[in-house]
């Protein structure tokens, strides 16, 4: 069935999103390697440039809000490209009727998050749309950073170690629990956090780091699939090594969701030379956001371009890219 309209799943970060980018956007603009940030050269300097829009609903959620997310998300995309975040732009689309008290809270949040990272918000824009035309507010941020390391999803090699800095699935579960119509409660809070200083500590440790991605929409599953495809290698993760908290697992069991596909906003998947894994772990574990860092898998030669999971019972299965929408199911 050919798609003639945009579906919710097109925004899920999964295969439909990929399709939309590959068939419509990338060819239109001649974009080739699509990483977390673009790296451009200007006056002898390598700069990273990225943009993200934030439409999270509700805009206040356990562990953060849309403002904090708007800073961290973009700052993290720069960090994933090995770039120190320098400047952000801030575009706001506000709904008629949005309480100014809410807006003030969000602005305070943005200010705090930016100060935390040391990034400057230098320009912005404001628009207002009629009541009902957006949900409270939408935010777009664009960021520029200074590249200090050469990392790319295309540089991953067999023998590399795959590392993550802590528990998976927290942001997605926290936001889902506040979504109307899903009706479940949990004490899981979003892991929304800026990752530059954590990433920096790993980059300056002397370890050879090949690629970094943050597993946001679509979760760890999309991230490892993308890296495997970009480098033409296989990735094998160990199910028993994946850090998933009991509460996240419980929420996923309750709703029939796969923790590997749930969004994270304070996690980095780092792929480094196998022999350097210890060095990376030491560097990360010395940082508050990396205390639970661990190796979760390795890069293999085959199957080329695919990610696999060695299950707890010793079987093996493919980690697939989800189509894009997480829905409560009976089956």
């Amino acid at each position: 069935m050919k798609q003639d309209r945009i579906l919710l799943a097109h925004g899920g970060g999964g295969s439909l999103t990929h399709e939309l980018i590959e068939r419509l956007f990338a060819p239109a603009f001649g974009m080739k390697e699509l990483e977390d940030s673009a790296v451009v050269e200007f006056a002898g300097q390598r700069l990273a440039f990225t943009t993200d829009s934030y439409v999270v609903k509700p805009y206040f959620f356990p562990g953060g809000d849309i403002g904090k997310l708007a800073v961290c998300g973009t700052v993290n995309d720069l960090a994933m490209q090995g770039a120190q975040p320098l400047w952000l732009s801030l575009g706001m689309i506000l709904e008629e009727g949005l309480p100014i008290a809410d807006l003030e809270r969000i602005v305070a949040s943005i200010k705090a998050a930016a100060a935390d990272v040391g990034v400057k918000i230098v320009t912005g824009d404001t628009k207002v749309v009629e009541r009902g035309k957006c949900e409270g507010l939408y935010i777009n941020t664009a960021g520029i950073g200074r590249v200090i390391a050469d990392v790319s999803s295309t540089r991953v090699r067999p023998g590399d170690a795959v590392i993550v800095n802590g528990n998976l699935g927290e942001h997605g579960v926290a936001v889902l629990s506040r979504r109307e119509g899903i009706a479940f409660q949990t004490s899981v809070i979003s892991d929304c956090a800026p990752l530059w200083s954590l990433v920096q500590s790993a980059l300056i440790s002397g370890a050879e780091i090949h690629a970094m991605r943050d597993p946001t929409r679509g979760g760890l599953a999309v991230t490892v699939c993308d890296i495997a495809a970009a480098s033409g290698v296989g990735i094998r993760l160990q199910e028993s090594a994946l850090p998933i908290g009991a509460e996240v697992r419980g929420a996923c069991d309750l709703l029939g969701l796969d923790p590997l596909t749930i969004a994270n906003e304070g996690k980095v998947v780092m792929v480094c030379r196998g022999a350097d894994a210890g060095r990376v772990l030491d560097a990360m574990r010395g940082h508050p956001l990396g205390r639970d860092a661990r190796v979760i898998g390795e890069v293999t030669e085959k199957p080329k371009g695919m990610a696999m999971l060695r299950t707890a019972i010793g079987g093996e299965r493919i980690i697939d890219v989800p189509t894009g929408e997480d829905l409560p199911r009976i089956c």
């Binding site: 479940f184 409660q185 949990t186 069991d253």
Partner: protein, 70 residues
């Protein structure tokens, strides 16, 4: 065809109960099971408890289920 999850009754309100799946809470209907009690373990499908488990059975399941985590 049937995703059902084991959970513990942490609150009881006549024909509905709040159940906890390792901390994830939801309100479900308990009309289909006999004499639900606070602290009982139940299997939940589509918002309804469909049978009770003994605590020993829950622990047994938990061990198998969590063989995937360290």
């Amino acid at each position: 065809m049937c995703l059902a999850v084991p959970a513990k009754i942490v609150e009881l309100n006549g024909t509905t109960a709040t159940i906890s799946v390792e901390g994830a809470l939801r309100e479900v209907d308990v009309s289909l099971i006999e004499e639900p009690r606070l602290g009982d373990y139940v299997l939940v499908h589509a918002g309804f408890a469909i049978t009770k488990w003994e605590e020993s059975e829950y622990q047994e399941w938990k061990e198998i289920h969590e063989a995937v985590t360290q």
